[in-house]
């Protein structure tokens, strides 16, 4: 399909120039970064040869921050300041967090998202995640020898809007340009599908450290179409550790544990779980701070019995996803296993029994998500070659709606809708002379607002006074390719229009992000302005290149006057590029180019669609 290259601005002018892009799997227990080198996706190791970075962040009293193995080593000694599994807190309030009372942290309840009090101050889960992402960014830049053009960051498919937005905020805070948030099972499907030239309907069973996803995809001629997705955003390998930990505490008849001892035993439980993947039994030994010695033997069968309900818990979302896709288990051609927790034989067996086939384990379940993300990042960054001609069609996992009278939810966008999507719905006033309307945006499948997640509240003011039911308020929901929602509303009966656009806010306002950015740059002794300027310069160069390439390809869509106007705009930007006054001035010029080329972009899009259809008719003849 040579025609596809029409829609590739920027590629033709500099095909030799490889843009540095990475895929990042920001996991509950471990995180990874991968890239495409010489056409092959590879995981980038740290200086010691480790591929995995434990998702552990420690704030030390001296103000230093340790991430990964160094932080993990201190976890038992300093549990309060050593944050593990922070992904479980992303976009979550205190009341949403399971076992919060037994966690060793000093939680601070805050509107929208919980915070953690550490020796280095109160930290948002977004800041903690950003430390992990920053470590991976630096690892990648060192390995690749330059700054990154961008990154694809993966999220559990079942993450809701708040959790996705929090992840994106964390990536931006870490200095990453987010090319796309990509669903973890979809990333795995890309890696598996491209490696095996797979065609047909596949299920991806992704049991990570803290989240479970089940996605059903149809792979056909380079199109990865997600048919349905389901899952549990608070179920993963961690829960198996927790269960075994509780069992050990019971068996050894231990008194309530200190946070240090709890951390230690939890780590021992995790080791034992891993042992039981390949051994019939294992011994757990530990010396507590009191000097008391724990010594317990656990068999594989005991472990399977005590965690049976957890394995079963993954099958309900599995059935739901199949039902939503309108498929029976037998119609699935293969089941791709993803996530370290799928190594457990009891999980493998339950999946095999459910789908009546042996699951596919030929890719490393720890790495497959990062590898798929790297492949997608490579393409999104503009390194697409003729072989990289695939299209991803993903969906939103949970329905989006508005609160109506009586605390009921009116669904606007149903779950499993292909994104991007925009949908409008009309509402009206309830009382005579009503001039304002309060809108409450929620996400979830239940009929009552109280059972769904509240994403945002905003008010539409300035509605002209009319009889009840006469006003017409059109509310538009838009979900972009990252799965992120924005909502706008306007009244349109009388020609008087009030309009507002909100980004759902669950915790982090723009000022928070700015403050954190500032703090993190101070911390890294970087000049924020210098960095912002550098970023804008890169962006400006990219814009110039893209517009020139577009002019070269489709310049005939413009008349002389229009061409001259656009050329003048890019010359103005080019002139300012070497020594701009500041990053804001450069941003203004970039925005000016964007606005001035909007009509041109629309015409080019129109042309490429017409060509695609023309090509289609010829094929059919």
């Amino acid at each position: 399909m040579a025609l596809l290259q029409i829609a590739e601005p920027g590629q033709s002018t500099a095909p030799h120039q490889h843009r540095l892009a990475v895929g990042i799997d920001l996991g509950t227990t471990n995180s990874l970064v991968a890239t495409v080198r010489n056409g092959v996706a590879v995981v980038l190791n740290d200086a010691d040869g480790h591929a995995l970075l434990p998702s552990v962040v420690r704030y030390a009293p001296d103000g230093s921050v340790a991430v990964g193995y160094a932080a993990q080593a201190e976890a038992a000694r300093d549990p309060k300041n050593t944050i593990v599994s922070v992904k479980r807190f992303m976009g979550r309030g205190l009341k949403d967090i399971a076992h919060a009372e037994s966690a060793p942290y000093d939680f601070v309840d805050a509107p929208g998202m919980v915070r953690l009090r550490t020796v280095a101050g109160v930290k948002s889960p977004v800041e903690v995640s950003a430390e992990i992402l920053r470590t991976l960014r630096l690892r990648a830049e060192a390995a690749l020898g330059g700054p990154l053009v961008g990154a694809v960051v993966t999220v559990p498919a079942y993450f809701d809007d708040a959790q996705r937005q929090a992840t994106k905020d964390a990536a931006q805070l870490a200095g990453l340009n987010v090319l796309r948030l990509l669903n973890e099972p979809t990333a795995a499907a890309i890696a598996y599908g491209l490696d095996n030239a797979a065609e047909g309907v596949y299920a991806v069973y992704d049991l990570g450290g803290g989240t479970f996803d089940l996605s059903i995809l149809r792979l056909s001629k380079g199109v990865f179409e997600v048919l349905a997705t389901s899952g549990d955003a608070a179920l993963g390998g961690d829960d198996f550790d927790q269960r075994l930990f509780c069992w050990i505490v019971e068996q050894a008849r231990l008194a309530p544990l200190s946070p240090e001892d709890a951390r230690l035993l939890l780590a021992k439980a995790r080791e034992a779980k891993e042992q039981l993947t390949t051994h019939a039994e294992t011994r757990v030994t530990a010396t507590l701070t009191s000097g008391e010695v724990v010594d317990v033997v656990v068999t594989q069968q005991q472990f399977w019995d005590m965690t049976r309900h957890l394995v079963q818990k993954t099958l309900a979302p599995t059935r739901k996803a199949l039902r939503d896709a309108g498929l029976a288990p037998e119609e699935v051609k293969g089941v791709v296993m993803v996530g370290g927790a799928t190594r457990m034989p009891n999980v493998q067996q339950a999946v095999a029994e459910f789908f009546k086939q042996t699951p596919l384990n030929n890719l490393d379940p720890d790495k497959v998500v990062a590898l798929g993300a790297a492949m997608q990042a490579n393409v999104l960054a503009g390194n697409r070659t003729a072989d990289d001609d695939w299209l991803l069609l993903d969906v939103i996992p949970l329905s989006l709606g508005l609160e109506t009278m009586g605390g009921l939810v009116e669904k606007i966008i149903p779950r499993n809708s292909t994104i991007p999507i925009a949908k409008a719905q009309d509402f009206t006033t309830f009382k005579d002379g009503q001039t304002a309307m309060s809108l409450h945006v929620v996400q979830g499948e239940r009929e009552l607002v109280s059972d769904c997640r509240s994403l945002a509240r905003f008010e539409l003011r300035g509605i002209p006074p009319m009889a009840a039911g006469a006003a017409r308020i059109r509310v538009t929901f838009q979900v972009d390719a990252d799965g992120l929602l924005s909502v706008s509303a306007r009244e349109s009966t009388t020609g008087v229009q009030a309009s507002v656009t909100v980004k759902p806010s669950y915790g982090l306002a723009d000022e928070d992000i700015t403050r954190m950015l500032k703090e993190s740059f101070e911390h890294a002794r970087e000049d924020m302005h210098a960095r912002a300027l550098r970023e804008q310069q890169v962006e400006a160069a990219r814009v110039i290149e893209a517009v020139e390439s577009a002019l070269a390809q489709d310049g005939d869509l413009l008349n002389e006057q229009e061409t001259a106007t656009i050329r003048a705009l890019i010359e103005e930007l080019r002139a300012a590029l070497p020594e701009p006054a500041d990053h804001r001035a450069l941003k203004r010029l970039i925005d000016k180019v964007a606005k001035g080329t909007e009509e041109f972009a629309a015409r080019r899009m129109d042309r490429s669609i017409k060509r695609a259809l023309a090509g289609k008719k010829i094929e059919q003849l």
Partner: protein
């Protein structure tokens, strides 16, 4: 903006405005166009192009949702012909049809009460068979006879049947999950 909203879904997909269009052609046209406009193709492009791309991709997804469902496709075709299909404003259905519907519902409730998956599945299959025949007739009315009044009446009936079908599906799902 050249984002031409006046083009209808069929024109957008380069398909004839007919009820009887092979599913494969709808899927094929959808993928061809989405491959051109999808935001993944513009992730590294300028802001203007990224915005236009998202609008187009959303528009193409909307068209696909309408065209791929036989019922939505029929409603859309009839609306293009100026028919008012809106069920809430005109629900006067033939008494005979309403009687049939009540019998169906009773059968579903009975099967639900006795928690019989087999009975529900049998009803599901029988209804699917009936709907298939009705859709064939709908195609004839729209594409050949061009009797849009009669087609509108049949579409309203099919709305009832589709709703019933999804209720049977929900009942089956509820039994499975217990």
């Amino acid at each position: 903006m050249a984002l031409d909203l006046s083009r209808n879904h069929f024109e957008l997909f380069g398909l004839p405005a007919r009820f009887d269009v092979p599913q494969a052609r709808i899927d094929g046209a959808y993928r061809e166009i989405q491959a051109q406009v999808h935001p993944d193709r513009f992730a590294h492009a300028g802001e203007a192009e990224r915005r236009v791309s998202m609008q187009w991709a959303a528009r193409v997804n909307e068209a696909y949702q309408t065209l791929k469902s036989p019922l939505k496709r029929a409603v859309y075709l009839l609306e293009l012909q100026g028919m008012d299909v809106g069920a809430e404003r005109n629900t006067a259905m033939p008494a005979e049809f309403l009687m049939e519907q009540m019998e169906w519902r009773e059968a579903v409730e009975e099967a639900e009460a006795s928690r019989s998956v087999d009975a529900l599945e049998a009803l599901h299959a029988r209804l699917r068979g009936e709907m298939r025949a009705q859709y064939a007739e709908l195609g004839r009315l729209i594409d050949e006879v061009r009797d849009f009044e009669a087609a509108t009446g049949l579409v309203r009936k099919l709305m009832f049947m589709e709703k019933l079908q999804s209720e049977i599906g929900d009942a089956l799902a509820a039994l499975e999950d217990d």
